[in-house]
Symmetry: C2
Subunit: 159 residues, 2 copies
DNA sequence: CGTTTGCTAGACACATTGACCAGTTATCGA
DNA sequence: TCGATAACTGGTCAATGTGTCTAGCAAACG
């Protein structure tokens, strides 16, 4: 299997991650390649889906949502996951949700303004009919902030 | 408490999220405000930390890491969390890690190339001395992709 | 061994940026 | 209610970057 990215791609991605505001021209200067090359590489990375986008990264904590928690939902088998996912999607505090192994379970990341507010969010979540049980884990500290950069390097080295 | 963001901020963030490549000038045209205003708002949002950055969003799946899992680590109380976090940081497949409620536990998001590869990643994680027990949940499907946009709207409406 | 693909290096018109400015509302505290 | 401060407008300017195109060259591929 041929790697999806090569060493130049990695350097480009790392450069963009470090200084997102530099343009294609400046990037080409830093990487010592022609501008067209950088442009082509970027287009290719986006086309392949390796780069999903350049949207602004928002910090829930800065918006006042300083409490993060993970909640496991046991849902009624019959209804299926989709209606539950649709319900969760209507709650802004639910940041993401995955179905996980172990009969009919869902793992969600949620945020709240405070521990008291967390109760409100949880109540809103479990108010839905198809949810049988919920169990919450409060995040105390972020030991390792979300990152994907090391993965690119590894993918290029072809692990 | 005064909101950290107002309605214009929300529209700006939503616009940037929808079309990240538009510049300040185009944004000002869409929002029907002066360019300087957009510039000032953007600077303010970044300065406040509401916008953490504009880095490229990478998709692990597109890099060949199609398997996502959540792993709970029970760590030895004595050593503390930091050495464990340092160990986890050296493993590219560990995308994030949180300390969570429940004595000395850590929740990590990890990715792997396949289920077999997942075993290798887990082995690498638990090879560390301070880790007593690990329990893994494999993510079957992404029901709700990571999002923060709805939160901004809610913060502005001041929930 | 010809063809395709990727990179270089340069060109061009055009749009955008960053940095200003003066003048005009809003907002808020006293 | 008034004054001061902060925010927004609408405009300028030079400098820079963008999108798009060209042609030549080298390596990889079948």
């Amino acid at each position: 299997m041929t790697p999806t990215v090569d060493e130049l791609d990695v350097r480009l991605v790392e450069l963009l991650a470090a200084e997102p505001r530099i343009g294609v021209l400046e990037a080409s200067r830093r990487l010592k390649v022609a501008r067209g090359t950088v442009q082509a590489r970027l287009d290719r990375l986006v086309a392949r889906g390796v780069i999903k986008g350049f949207g602004p990264e928002l910090d829930p904590a800065a918006l006042g949502y300083g409490v993060t928690a993970f909640i496991t939902l046991e849902i009624r088998q019959s209804g299926g996951h989709d209606p539950v996912a649709a319900h969760l999607a209507t709650i802004p505090e639910v940041l993401e949700a995955y179905t996980i192994t172990g009969g009919g379970d869902l793992l969600c990341r949620i945020v709240a303004r405070s521990n008291a507010d967390l109760q409100r969010v949880i109540d809103e979540i479990v108010s839905y009919d198809g949810i049988l049980r919920a169990s919450t884990l409060i995040a105390l500290a972020e030991q390792l902030p979300y990152r994907t950069l090391p993965l690119v390097g590894k993918a290029a080295r072809h692990g």
